[in-house]
């Protein structure tokens, strides 16, 4: 069925929802003909769906991550059935380290997003992040890291666990020269009023202000932001770390 015909038909059908922009976060073979897709869509957030690849119309699709798809599915349970899938464009060409970063994003989203909770802004931010990765020439980690940090901070904001870095926990404006420690669920605590549990996360007010402004030009800020994001995400991920981090072993990440 051509795309235009489908659109016209889908408008009149109440059984399937309209086609939807979605990215495949992960795909795995269920049996010889069925592939289970973990999708990240704008209106429905994370959705799990199965596609029967023995059908003529689904046979030649590659089901690759980092590629925008137009997808429609049906089904009332959490496990949907793909009715229509078509790549909207080519895969976003991620090279070298950028593929690792893309895999890291996908694992993070798969672990942290709730099923079928709308995330329209996040999908577009995800898409932009992938495009930013693809647009880099040198692909050095120095360039990739700030993009990753911005995504992590944005994701935390969207999930409702955003880091509040402009004031300390009592609402006082940060003093650039004083030291603060970041404590999960409390925020920034002035050093002295709290016994540090993690000495790595003590930085000056200036460092936190620059992270809040998403300014990662300085190597020291980059390092502080990495530790801060890791700590904030670890609290949400539970005891199981992100496996994709192992890929960066030879990258000095």
């Amino acid at each position: 069925m051509t795309s235009a015909l489908y659109e016209a038909w889908a408008m009149t059908s109440d059984k399937w929802q309209k086609t939807e922009l979605a990215y495949i976060l992960h795909s795995r073979k269920y049996n010889d003909s069925d592939v289970i897709l973990e999708l990240f869509s704008a209106t429905y957030g994370r959705v799990t769906a199965v596609v029967n690849t023995s059908k003529q119309s689904f046979r030649y699709e590659a089901y690759q991550p980092f590629c925008p798809y137009s997808i429609a599915w049906s089904g009332r349970s959490n496990f949907k059935k793909i009715r229509y899938i078509d790549a909207l464009s080519q895969s976003i060409p991620l090279q070298a380290q950028a593929i690792f970063c893309g895999m890291y994003l996908n694992e993070l989203l798969l672990r942290l997003l709730y099923e079928q909770e709308p995330q329209d802004a996040l999908v577009f931010y995800y898409q932009q992040t992938l495009l930013d990765f693809a647009s880099l020439d040198g692909l050095s980690l120095g360039e990739l890291e700030p993009i990753l940090r911005r995504f992590e901070l944005y994701l935390l904001d969207e999930l409702g666990y955003g880091l509040y870095l402009s004031d300390d926990e009592d609402g006082n404006v940060l003093d650039g020269n004083s030291s603060y420690q970041y404590v999960n669920q409390r925020g920034l605590v002035p050093l002295g009023s709290y016994l540090p549990d993690d000495k790595q996360l003590i930085f000056s007010g200036d460092v936190f202000k620059q992270i809040a402004a998403r300014d990662f030009s300085d190597a020291k800020i980059k390092f502080a932001a990495k530790l801060l994001c890791r700590k904030a995400l670890a609290a949400l991920l539970g005891g199981k770390p992100i496996k994709a981090r192992e890929l960066f072993k030879y990258s000095g990440f």
Binding site: D32, Q64, S91, A96, I99, F100, K243, L247, K249
Partner: protein, 197 residues
Amino acid sequence: MFSPLIDRLIQALKRLPGVGPKSAQRMAFHLLENDRESANIIAEALAAAAASVNRCELCRNLTEQNICSICDDHRRDKSVLCIVENPADVVALEQAGSYSGLYFVLLGRLSPIDGIGPKEIGVDLLGHRFQHGELLEVIIATNPTAEGEATSHYVSQLAKRYEIKVSRIAHGVPLGGELEYLDGTTLAHALGTRREL
């Protein structure tokens, strides 16, 4: 409906890829009704293979010896190593007949979401091979999927640490194929990696 032994046989056959309940039932009845001799041959071959086939200590391919026949063949070029995802890829490359170096089978590809990281694809053994082998070139023949590309990049980083030349098999238009039926991504890739004549 079936007696316990027949039911057990059908259930066992169903475990094979591509075999559903109907095919399993057909196979079971064929073996029991018409071809008892084949049934015994299959049973013996399966039991013997399952008991003695292991992984080659050098390349992780399937073999009943400690070192497989390819790694043990002194006529093969020991300075080139081709890295593939599965034992079936070794068979495909051997059938193509144009490669005479050695292989290394990863038994998978990097897929962190599935819990497959560098350790699971035998990077330790591969690193040891890079360090102590007489390798001059590593050819990476993982599949052209996102996961295959990630694996390729990881292995190439590892090989470059030991200053070994790394190459990747080409992807593009299949021989005898027609451009008009090719998907855009493959075509774009084929154009991007064109070569001068």
